[in-house]
Symmetry: C2
Subunit: 364 residues, 2 copies
């Protein structure tokens, strides 16, 4: 059994990772269809040693496609994913478009695989900052129960795609040329030569506590960004803990690849740092630092698959049942492309890549 696989957003940062992973993990691809906007026509994608021309992402492009890996943005998924399902494809969607839909399973491979079985044509891949935390929180919840989770993120610019990487590079070049020649001028970085497009402020030498748009809902989420609400709501859905007390502050940092998270958990019953480390060492996809004084950084772990957990220690504000952790992962892998390909593998193994007839989701 091999499949015709379309990659929607094939020329983007996550798209190119998707194609590399389909090849390196030997997913049974009969035919690859790299789809992108008209702008990318004329380009080719190298797959299994062959250049494959990029095709335009139109509804008709999904004719004969078995599996779609979609990573071209929410509005494009909203428009094209129903078209793909209508034509018999199963879609692993990497955008936020369908994640919270009650008829769409939101899955992290190894965490809630069984949810794949009730899909109606779409399986959603969570946001990068959610995905990396799920193996960790799931393991702790299974061990002793989660009572409360407080997260502060340190998210790299690659979360905003190639354009994010480029804007950081350009911003740094401007600053280095203008102001960095003398150490004593460092305090007076001028914003004059910066015109940020991807981020809301210059990201060079800066932090921006604003990812995605602000919630304007007239409720308790007022003032949260959508990135923070994704982390909160997606976690509750994936762990099937709809009432889990959880909060998040999401911050963009001038790092290229790799998201980091400072996490405080209140547990239902005590777990020592050593016991927590042991629980996490027994968790697939998780690498635990060798000692309480060892740790991981995004720079050294970028380009690798696991979720890295370190600095597991007692929470001095809740000595009985609290722990602090530092969680780092490559946001382009477990946070995006790797999880999508693993979901495709699991769908294949579970016999769930067959067309869904009369999916309720076609009219979403």
């Amino acid at each position: 059994m091999a499949y015709t696989v379309a990659v929607l957003g094939a020329t983007g940062l996550v798209g190119s990772h998707l194609i590399q992973l389909l090849e390196s993990r030997q997913f049974p691809v009969k035919r690859l269809k790299p789809l992108a906007s008209q702008r990318s026509l004329g380009n080719s994608i190298l797959f299994q040693g062959q250049p494959i021309p990029v095709e335009e992402a139109t509804p008709e492009a999904f004719e004969g496609v078995d599996l779609v890996l979609a990573s071209a943005g929410g509005s494009i998924s909203a428009r094209l994913v129903p078209e793909a399902i209508k034509r018999g494809a199963v879609v692993v969607d990497n955008t936020s478009e369908f994640r919270m839909h009650p008829q769409v399973p939101l899955v992290v491979a190894g965490v809630n695989n069984a949810d794949l079985d009730w899909h109606q044509g779409i399986v959603a891949n969570p946001n990068c900052s959610t995905a990396q935390l799920m193996p960790v929180l799931k393991a702790l919840h299974s061990a002793v129960g989660l009572k409360r989770v407080i997260i502060s993120t340190y998210q790299s610019v690659s979360g905003a795609g190639k354009e994010g990487l480029e804007e950081l590079r350009e911003g740094l070049t401007v600053d280095m040329n203008n102001s960095l020649r003398h150490a004593h001028e460092l305090e007076t970085l001028s914003d004059q030569y910066h015109s940020p497009q991807v981020f809301q402020r210059p990201i060079a030498f800066n932090l921006i506590p604003h990812i995605d748009v602000f919630s304007e809902a007239d409720d308790d989420t007022y003032g949260y960004t959508r990135e923070e609400l994704k982390l909160i709501r997606e976690t509750r859905k994936i762990l099937d803990l709809p009432e889990l007390p959880i909060t998040a502050t999401a911050v963009r940092v001038p790092v290229l690849v790799g998201h980091s998270e400072s996490v405080t958990v209140d547990l239902e019953s005590p777990l020592s740092p050593e016991q927590a480390a042991q629980v996490l060492r027994n968790t697939p996809d998780v690498v635990v630092a060798s000692s309480l004084t060892d740790y991981h950084t995004p720079r050294e772990t970028a380009g690798t698959d696991p979720v890295y957990v370190s600095r597991i220690r007692r929470d001095t504000s809740n000595l009985q049942t609290g722990l602090n952790l530092w969680v780092v992962a490559d946001n382009l892998r477990i946070g995006a492309a790797l999880n999508a390909v693993r979901l495709a593998e699991l769908l294949h193994e579970r016999g769930k890549l067959a067309p869904v007839t009369a999916s309720a989701l076609v009219t979403v």
Copy 2:
């Protein structure tokens, strides 16, 4: 009344800020003595338009000095501060050396001024990440009581002095030259050309959850860094809340100047985000963002005096009595030099710059 003022560590990053602030805030200086290590002899410091030669920091250099502003590192303060007191000086010490000593007041101007009155020759200036948070936590505590505080920091390289700034600049230059020419090479930053001296890992395009040394105490603080323990213990001392449940994760980020903190507070009784904003707007030295969707970044606030608070919102993990806040300040100002000079001003106003005879601290 004017004073002979010695600045210990006059050629460092904080030292030069101290001297600028003594001048710009018109502190009554009769004579300035810039003190530094032998290495800096031959240099001059410009003060009130006059070049003043740097003198070597020896015990005898404190003869005739009324006030010492010390910012040359803990071991130098340990050796020289008692010598200065012995000779009749009052010392505002910016290092961690004496902060937790029960006979040394630890003071943030405007937060616990009355503690200045029981000094015995030394007043300690808190760590930068502690200082900026104190006006905020004090105001919330006075309003409704603090029950628990959880902090994740984003600390700039200038917290490690000029050498920290230089190491980031050099690291970025190496990476930009080697790997950044093509966006698709960004994932493979090589550490080969980096040899970090100030930080434990390359800080360019990276985060390091390790500031100061790890605690090896065989107790609940095992695995914390000293930076985190400073934040915890100094907060408890300054707010006079010795049992306050508080925890911290301290992370170095590739920002030049300005420390940021993601703070979650549990309060004794409910306070809406709007009420909290109002409380903080009425707090001296604090600037609150104009709306719940406005915010501050370190880049834009570096070089200014206030503490900036934004993103004040309900904590979705504790809707009744929890708040999240984003707190940014210039670590070289309120976090170091500005607070030190303000403490000197307050000591002057309160008549507390007289020599302390027979100080118990001389034999510390």
